[in-house]
Symmetry: C2
Subunit: 339 residues, 2 copies
């Protein structure tokens, strides 16, 4: 089968490899319907994370091809979506809604989903079957649910978005844009997208943004304050993961407000005293997408939301390297790879 492998930073190739096989009796093998490149894949691509011949991809949707002997609920032939972290969905942490921290999670995200087939651990606890075989036009949205939609949604929930609230969104990548969509769905009164790119601003507005702030850093914070009687947002979604974006999010939020942060943290050190006197709530981390998947799949199935719009470039998987380059150079927000 075909599999995207990052040999080294900036060096992405499509290898011919063996189809994965069942390793644990709780595994399933799925045949991908489509796959995609994540903004977090750019960290190793740019050398910010170590990488050495790494099978890439942790976002997936497709048809179950084989199940292990202990899999009870997921059947061969089901169309399924799963989270980028596997989870048994039965441990105390999973039951509390934090499946991304499942005690049986394994060391990292599900690997190797930029491929024709992928092995998914804890199939019963990780995968959610769709109500039937999806129409082709739903595939991008179902694929988005696997990570970027689920992550943007978690950020909005972590930021306690709700009716009557003003929400600021730091980061205009796929997760930030889907944070806007989530905020709209969760009833936010006002949604301020922070973006300097006309195409992303347009999609943010389509997803529900009521205001755009182009400034960053201190100027961005001042702009948010100016829009909120000097107080700051009730809820801020952070979807970047840098020192600047975290401080921008904290400073843009009023005392007693909530910051939901989901950008994978890189070289961030939060100053304790400033955080203390800010009075904000801080919550985030790797999103427990599994918690939200049943509802998100239903919203997509019912055509209530169309998160697949974040894919603005579609390439055959053989051209994965071009897809990484396009995202790295910000020519694309998110790349879908057909298989």
């Amino acid at each position: 089968m075909r599999a995207v492998v990052m040999y080294a930073p900036g060096d992405v190739r499509v290898d011919q490899t063996e189809r994965p096989t069942i390793v644990e009796p709780t595994d399933a093998i799925i045949k991908l319907a489509a796959t995609c490149i994540c903004g977090s894949d750019l960290w190793p691509y740019r050398g910010a994370d170590d990488v050495d011949h790494q099978p890439m991809g942790h976002e997936y949707a497709g048809v179950v091809d084989e199940v292990g002997s202990a899999v009870e609920n997921i059947k061969v032939g089901d169309f399924v979506v799963g989270s980028f972290f596997s989870s048994d969905n039965t441990c105390e942490i999973c039951q509390a809604g934090y499946q991304s921290h499942c005690v049986h999670r394994g060391p990292g995200a599900v690997p190797g989903a930029q491929a024709d087939y992928a092995r998914i651990p804890h199939a019963d606890g990780t995968l959610v079957a769709t109500p039937g075989q999806p129409a082709a036009e739903l595939i991008p949205s179902l694929l988005a649910a696997s990570d970027v939609l689920g992550t943007g949604w978690f950020a909005a929930v972590a930021a306690e978005v709700g009716p009557g609230k003003t929400v600021a969104v730091v980061g205009d990548g796929a997760v930030g844009l889907l944070g806007v969509l989530a905020a709209k769905q969760l009833g936010a009164e006002r949604i301020i997208a922070m973006s300097r790119h006309a195409d992303r601003q347009a999609l943010a507005r389509e997803f529900g943004a009521t205001d755009i702030v182009e400034e960053r850093g201190d100027a961005g914070v001042a702009a948010i304050k100016a829009l909120t009687d000097g107080l700051g947002a009730h809820s801020t979604i952070e979807a970047v993961g840098t020192q600047e974006s975290m401080m921008q999010a904290i400073r843009a939020t009023r005392a007693g407000g909530h910051v939901g942060y989901v950008g994978v943290s890189h070289d961030v050190e939060l100053p304790g005293q400033e955080l203390f006197f800010s009075g904000v709530h801080l919550h985030g981390g790797p999103a427990p997408v599994r918690r939200f998947l049943p509802d998100l799949i239903q919203l997509i199935w019912d055509r209530q939301i169309d998160p697949g719009k974040v894919f603005d470039l579609t390439l055959p998987i053989e051209q994965a390297a071009d897809g990484y380059k396009a995202m790295d150079e910000r020519r694309a927000t998110k790349v879908l790879l057909t298989v």
Copy 2:
């Protein structure tokens, strides 16, 4: 009148000064019934915060002696308790329950309450009158409500303490001990006090602690994990404010759990990546004591709680310097000064 003044680190004196007078029409002057020394007063005493001829004291309870022309609800003769930060209690931030971040708060805590009289800004929004003149034995508890009880209570609320939860408490000073009391009142199932001092352990148990952990740092975290099926506490109260105590609190908390931190942060830098992957909620800062004062006063009035037990040394105000010394040397948990 008598007033405690910190001339320099380690140099505390009792000066004769003028009784304060009304400055703003929203002010009140109160005659202190008693006053006390706060753990946070030790930061400047030890040279960790700058100090230069600073009138000390921000915890107070007493009788209203004079009110400004704009004060409507608080009357001369009322016995009142107030928060260490003044607040108008009408702005949007106050109405959301974050009075310690009131937009009209002023630059710092109410100053000069280790004295015979103190000036309290925004009297109507800051002070809460007791149901009548209190019996003498209630004075220490009412005084405690002004800061340490309100702060410990806020920490427990920020840590989302509730029925069925296991709570860890980092710090065995007055605030940590009253965090134990708050956790008990809020229905926690299990309360683990982290303390190495026999007298404080005893008071923690009296306030509701079910377990004591003597270890600190990594060993302390391991002990908490051992008591919680390897998962960590649901809720952790942080009542110290150092790098070690913050990391101990974060690491002792399970993914999806809550850290309520109220120790005034000193030289703390939170590592972003570890915080991200911890999956905890973080909330804290200067406690909005005013939010809780009506309920806390009622609990004290009804003899449901006795937070005044944290005072383990009582001295006349003239001996304030001895009181600071006793707290600095950990011979006393908290010192009450009679006036």
